[in-house]
């Protein structure tokens, strides 16, 4: 099997900045944190989002504060780890690998997720598909 060419943290930051000039990226102790705003489409709200990534771990995304809301108070938002943390991909090497650019995967997937989130808020139905937690065991990230 071909070895994958892991992208360094500074390369990841550079790609995010070049694709999304509005995003601010910092690297502290090997942890990349990118903050920016996403509006998935003309009908959608604009969201403050945070992406965190350390080589050797799965990228994490946050939509901080109370920007995301369940339909009923105390209810669950589909495809989230926590009320501020969407699950964008099934954690396996087939979904995301360290040679992939955050700018070309995680950020567009977050835009898509937000689109389906708003459709869910509007209609009560999740149209974005996906895999349920618990159906499969979480795998170790690709290093």
């Amino acid at each position: 099997m071909n070895r994958i060419k892991t992208l360094g943290i500074r390369d990841q930051a550079a790609w995010v900045r070049s694709r999304y000039p509005g995003f601010r990226c910092d690297v502290t102790g090997g942890l990349l944190t990118c903050r920016g705003r996403l509006q998935p489409g003309p009908m959608n709200a604009t969201y403050e989002v945070v992406i965190q990534y350390r080589v050797g771990t799965w990228p994490k995304v946050y939509v901080p504060g109370d920007q995301l809301q369940p339909v009923e108070s105390g209810g669950k938002i589909p495809h989230t780890y926590a009320p501020t943390e969407p699950c964008l991909f099934y954690p396996s090497r087939a979904s995301w690998r360290s040679d992939m650019k955050l700018s070309h995967t995680i950020i567009p997937w977050l835009s898509l997720w937000l689109t389906f989130y708003e459709m869910w808020r509007a209609t009560g139905e999740w149209h974005g598909g996906g895999i349920s937690h618990g159906a499969v065991k979480e795998l170790e990230p690709a290093a």
Partner: protein, 388 residues
């Protein structure tokens, strides 16, 4: 047949009006006869025509002719709110019969219809027309008529509401006027395809419809919800006449609808008392002659409400913009019914998923999802959302 270019969207909507154009078209498609239902209805009325004109028919000597009128002819059918059956109106035009009293003509047509066993079972006598019930699908209302030879040009006379005397009507003339309004100032020459047989917009598959046809469908749909079956419900012919009169030829459905509602709104506000709404093809005939002040006020508030809700979706306040799709969907639900609106969102989601699976989804630098063909967009790889 006269056709408009089908709407195929390579790009995702880039502004609210574009999104709304597609959303409203979906709401209309969900509310109208499907092409199969339409063909089915056509077959049925042709069969009625054949039966009335067949050898051995008592009516054959009057050379009966059956043709659609109203929404089926105009291409503006909308399934009545909360019902599964469409109302489709037909004219059964006899010839050389204008000297007879309406009751006699009505009785002749009924007699011939009842002579058919199949029809007899589903035949219903209404006040001035005969109804064929195709349960679960539609009913055909057949209005007996005679030519109005004094006026010509497709003019006919039809029984009045009490079947006591004849009154003027011209469904073909009205449809011709409406079609002209549809094509108005739209530089349609370039959008039309060759092969003109008969300008029957109703026979056109729904994705080929003109914005004005869609506007009338949307006005009828909101009317059905706003008046919720009340007795003072505004007649479709009034909506059609006003929409046709105020349409400015915009291609964008949502902006055209906004323009029509603006036009009607200002015209009504300038008239504190009941105005005349004249038949554009028969001056002197006032479609609003049964309105009293209360009915008029109710109609005004229907237009006002429609306009306010639509504008709020097109140009939301900052607060509503922050609420995203949810707020717009709520307002559209007030206008057209939340079931229909949710179904339209589901179709939008399906289209988005098709792009996603087909690798045709891109993203622009602001995080806005776009078509991959759009300049400056990067492809979005496939993913599967995870989690409960």
């Amino acid at each position: 047949m006269l056709l408009v270019e089908p709407q195929t969207h390579t790009a995702l909507p880039s502004n609210r009006a574009e999104w709304l154009d597609r959303h409203l078209a979906r709401v209309c498609i969900l509310s109208e006869l499907t092409p199969t239902q339409f063909r089915n209805a056509e077959e049925k009325y042709h069969a009625v025509g054949d039966w009335l004109a067949a050898d051995g028919s008592s009516l054959a000597v009057f050379a009966p002719e059956v043709y659609p009128q109203g929404s089926m002819l105009l291409g503006t059918t909308v399934r009545p709110y909360g019902q599964s059956e469409y109302d489709l109106d037909l004219v059964c035009q006899l010839h050389w019969c204008a000297q007879q009293p309406p009751l006699t003509i009505y009785a002749w047509v009924h007699e011939r219809m009842a002579a058919n066993e199949t029809y007899l079972e589903m035949l219903e006598k209404l006040k001035r027309c005969l109804r064929l019930n195709y349960a679960g699908s539609f009913h055909l209302d057949i209005l007996p008529a005679c030519p109005n030879d004094r006026i010509g040009n497709g003019s006919i006379i039809v029984p009045d509401r009490k079947l006591e005397c004849w009154k003027h009507s011209n469904p073909k003339g009205f449809a011709a006027w409406f079609l002209e309004q549809c094509r108005l100032r739209d530089q349609l020459a370039e959008r039309m395809l060759k092969g003109s047989v008969e300008p029957l917009p109703s026979a056109v598959p729904s994705q080929y419809k003109f914005p004005l046809q869609r506007i009338v469908q949307l006005m009828k749909r909101h009317r059905d919800i706003y008046f919720s079956g009340g007795r003072d419900i505004a007649r479709s012919v009034i909506l059609t006449t006003l929409a046709g009169g105020f349409y400015q030829g915009q291609r964008s459905l949502s902006l055209a609808l906004e323009g029509v509602l603006d036009g009607i709104h200002y015209a009504l506000e300038a008239n504190p008392t009941v105005p005349k709404i004249e038949n554009p093809t028969h001056p002197g005939e006032d479609f609003a002659d049964t309105w009293d002040q209360a009915k008029y006020e109710r109609f005004k508030s229907y237009i006002r409400n429609f306009r306010v809700e639509l504008k709020a979706v097109l140009n939301p306040s900052l607060t509503e913009q922050r609420m995203g799709l949810e707020k717009s969907t709520e307002r559209l639900g007030h206008l057209f019914g939340s079931n229909r609106v949710n179904e339209a969102i589901r179709i939008e989601a399906n289209e988005l998923n098709e792009r996603r699976i087909g690798g045709k989804l891109g993203i622009a630098s602001g995080g806005v999802l776009t078509a991959l063909s759009q300049v400056g967009s990067a492809a979005v790889p496939r993913n599967q959302f995870f989690g409960r």
